[in-house]
Symmetry: C2
Subunit: 723 residues, 2 copies
Amino acid sequence: MEKKKGRVTLPSEQNFLAETKELLERWGADAIRDSDGTKLDDEIKQLDAKIYTTYFVARAHNEFAEKHPEECQQLYLMSQFNTAHGETLEIDFMEGYFEEQLRPDYVHHPKKYWEVIDRTTGEIVDCNHWDVDEDLNCVTISNAVPWHEYTVSFLVFVIWDPTQMYNHITNNWGDKPHDIPFDVRGPQSNEFMATYLTQWLKDNPNTDVVRFTTFFYHFTLVFNHLAKEKFVDWFGYGASVSAAALDAFEQEKGYRLRPEDLIDQGYYNSSFRVPTKAYLDYIDFVQQFVAKEAKKLVDIVHESGKEAMMFLGDNWIGTEPYGEHFEQIGLDAVVGSVGGGATLRMIADIPHVRYTEGRFLPYFFPDTFYEGNNPVIEANQNWLTARRAVLRNPVDRIGYGGYLSLAYKFPDFVDYIEKVTDEFREIYDNIKGIKPHTGLKVAILNSWGKLRTWQTHMVAHALWYKQIYSYLGVLESLSGASVDVSFISFDDVIQHGVPEDVDVIINAGDAGTAFSGGENWKNEALITKIRAWVHNGGGFIGIGEPTAYQHGGRFFQLADVLGVDKELGFSLSTDKYFTSPVEKHFISADAGVFDFGEGMKNIFSLSKETEIIEYSNGEVHLSSHDFGKGRGVYIAGLPYSEENTRLLMRAMFYAANKENEFHKWHSSNIYCEVHAYPAIKKAALVNNSMEEQTTVIYDGSGNSKEVTLAPSEIRWEAFSDES
Amino acid sequence: MEKKKGRVTLPSEQNFLAETKELLERWGADAIRDSDGTKLDDEIKQLDAKIYTTYFVARAHNEFAEKHPEECQQLYLMSQFNTAHGETLEIDFMEGYFEEQLRPDYVHHPKKYWEVIDRTTGEIVDCNHWDVDEDLNCVTISNAVPWHEYTVSFLVFVIWDPTQMYNHITNNWGDKPHDIPFDVRGPQSNEFMATYLTQWLKDNPNTDVVRFTTFFYHFTLVFNHLAKEKFVDWFGYGASVSAAALDAFEQEKGYRLRPEDLIDQGYYNSSFRVPTKAYLDYIDFVQQFVAKEAKKLVDIVHESGKEAMMFLGDNWIGTEPYGEHFEQIGLDAVVGSVGGGATLRMIADIPHVRYTEGRFLPYFFPDTFYEGNNPVIEANQNWLTARRAVLRNPVDRIGYGGYLSLAYKFPDFVDYIEKVTDEFREIYDNIKGIKPHTGLKVAILNSWGKLRTWQTHMVAHALWYKQIYSYLGVLESLSGASVDVSFISFDDVIQHGVPEDVDVIINAGDAGTAFSGGENWKNEALITKIRAWVHNGGGFIGIGEPTAYQHGGRFFQLADVLGVDKELGFSLSTDKYFTSPVEKHFISADAGVFDFGEGMKNIFSLSKETEIIEYSNGEVHLSSHDFGKGRGVYIAGLPYSEENTRLLMRAMFYAANKENEFHKWHSSNIYCEVHAYPAIKKAALVNNSMEEQTTVIYDGSGNSKEVTLAPSEIRWEAFSDES
């Protein structure tokens, strides 16, 4: 069988021509990229492959930036909390910040753009009662109330690009100049970005794909006075703020933002905060601007006959691939880093581009590629978690990053990637554009909805946090499951009701967060629409502290649907008799030891109608409850594992009252899955583990047979219409 | 040495004269009581001992109660939550309630006294839009909003006294008549209670002490349709409510209560709820009434030459021994059940009575006194936990309850109680009225303050709840510790500041509860007064979720004092670097394995100035933080144990900046304590364990010596002024 080629991107580097050619052949690559810290030789650029070249729009042009300090990027920052001991309070507002990154903005008048807030009362201090010492970076409040806490919200210039800063500090780049990020909202910068790109395209005729890394605004990344990370929010719009942006916002939206609309008590509108209208307006405003300006660059690229690709990261703020303005940019492609199934889907599901590309792990860096380590293991794990998602909706290309010369020293790794790239192409060729069999339609309900598709419960994607892993498991499980997944917001439901075709709604998160919903659950339209929908046959799955908002004698506002609530101490006086789990249950039929991750304390059953599936430590952690023709299922937490993926699948089918559909295109063994494609009459049986697995496989009619799959195997089977 | 006598009360029963005499002698008892289910023979009443006779004011007089059903006691109840499926909603409001206990009140017009509430919006349904079917006990709402939840708040008559109901059902009393509780607010009942008592006193000339069990209103105890407990609140004022009381309240306080002021969303103003002004007004109103009416009875008793004693339980509602109206009752004594140190202090510290009496455990009932069991163990444990508290402030008498004949069958038990009674008398004779050495003055700060002295975090005293034990340990530890303990409310601090002589404030509880404080922590006067006080040298100890209320960028409003806050998910983007515990710390110097009980999740340190003492599972559980001249200490939870008592003592001395005072009248061994009485130059060295203990003992000057104490030993030592 002739070896297929294509859909794979290779990183390369200088003085590595022969090996690049070899790997191009073996991995079937049809594109070559540079990476951070690598450049491509001209000979390499002449190979039979597309050339991707990294392009920075708003940094790495200090010759320009230094001439236009007034167009430097900006941030709103909040000082530390400062307690007044008397009526005069001096606040060293830069305390804790990194002066090589951040410089207070005295160009725009502090009394207009800054805010001093009495955090004890929440009131703004009249700007006649404070002054700034620009030499000392100090605000002095003259009429402080003793023992109140005060903060200063202030504008700074960001004088060092965060990504370069991170690399610079991490790699001890010494006196290498600091990239100064400039803001294309400024007229000089706006002109510069276009003229420079035009020239650059001329200067780089061999480039086929301009890999924007990325556009204008970096996600928020602020360092502290010890030159270590202080604040990082991959979703943070902090660095899109500027005096000019605030003025333009007022022009456009008809009202002026307060600094506090962006400072948000120091939480900076973390995506865990239930978003305010002002913040939603602001990010929409930025998205519009970014789309409009990015389109200009993309148009220039297209005029030069090249493709425009966007890296989903770094300066991606405002692009929001699932937002309303993304389409307008007109990008050819998006490339992003794949940490597992959920991040693969985050890339693969992006609409309005011709193709998507996933950069797989491991990165070819010495932290993995060192003597004595076997990089195949990480690559295999990465591929197995991502493959489930690829089988639901493939990215169009895969690729790697880092030093190819390093990877080349590990022949087993080279062999393994050869297999992976072949396997990827086989999957792609089979299923691209083919709708896989879908057992259920699932909607994840939170404050963000579609805008943050596959992006819930994350601070920076792929970072582990104690407070999120018990929810992230839901996304990871769903990313490769035989269900359709959509993301809907509370406003969607309030305005349009639950979408017709949804079988199951999942609401997962800690109380008060945007993901659980906070005070949204006091909205009677939201409550009644969901209640009616469940009663009419819908399935509602609550994880953690779903629908949580203390009101009207309930903490879980849909306690009546879920059949459980959380004891906050107010109803201890009420006896709670319902503590006996059912003997067996559809949801737990495949369960061994339960793992609810962080779990949830003090959940109790409201009545004997609640089917308690797991009860321990005086608490319910898993339960189900009929509500009319529908059902509510409660799960205390769901970290990712094969066991929990199965638990969630069963919970969804049960909630939707579709247990009888469960054994279609199904594998009895939790380490295996079946992905069926009725339109092409093929099914992929996959072993998601690195061990051999034997499993009973059910086809679409429920007929079963036993199969044994080799470690990591994918086996394609044709089936007839009767299946 | 001649055997001392007195201060001990013996239960007795019929046909037990000789043994009663023997035990009277051996235990040195000087009083004899009847118990539930026992009566005293006339011969026993002639013995050289005071006779206590149990007296019920408002029940056990069915011949009267049946004639005056309109004066039957009442309750406000809330129906279950009912979801409207259409515009008409029928609510079976008695569903889940026990019809033998509760009968809907149709005497007083439901449209005046009841309330139908849309719990989804919180709005009251206009009473023109609902009707009651008195035959079916059903409320029909005619204009319900589909998928809203509704409840009915309704008045019932309580037709069975809860204590008798409990005993009746538990002991299968069959067709024995149900005691009907009547309300002395009714004119007939009010007259009856006085005339009956007057006659009763004449009929019971041998009674020396009338043991009221108790006065007018039982704590809330509601049974369900299965004749099992549904709701119990030892602090509940539910049964003091009536149409008459509501009308009188309006007359007295100038405004009318809504049913919801008492229903409280179905939480019924549990003492864990931050009390509303209306509820505080209401309980004050009841206390005034109870005091005035109880005084009438006490006066009658006194006129007959007898003493009036109140049992702290059952129908104690409204007496509030630590309240403002209690003194007015004019009681001679209070007797209550002793479950440990905290409950002993709850009795012993009661002001305005001539004496207090603790009923010790075990009760002489077959559940403890059965063949093969050794009741000495429970008695010994009970005595050891209580003795610590007795050494701080003794009750004036101790006693027992139940069947004396049962206890008599256990000679070892009889021997042991002989020792206990001797030991109690020795302690009492030594220290009554003598102020013990006090290392610190500690104030427990919550919504209730002094009113609920030694009564925090309890549903029914002595009942274990998962949600309270980690806080109750604080009270138990303090009850026998060498510190003065007071209970102050947020209003106390707001109005009068922190009392001058307080060294340490403790705020302990779950977020939102009356014990933590909920929205009180948004009060700037409270915040600033405590902040100033700590800064000036005070010690603030927060346990669980102290000062918790999400506001102004903080969850713990005194996070600046404590140096820690709780991560709710909003500040995950902020790096948290401070996770390294100090190598050693004054607070943990005696600690082995930490036990924070339920603990607390997601507590993090705000800065490097916070001294982390224990960090595990990604969380701070014990820490200290300097704040000006004072300190804040955080503890995740503190169930009772000798280890945690020591931890709390060290935390308090550290918080108060009085570490150098710690080794005065101190025992190095945590199972031993030193109680010193400077006025009499005596110290009691106690071994609180049932094993021999060796310990270094420090006197008041810090001089030390090693001593070995026998199991449970108390050793009295004289000391000179130099100590």
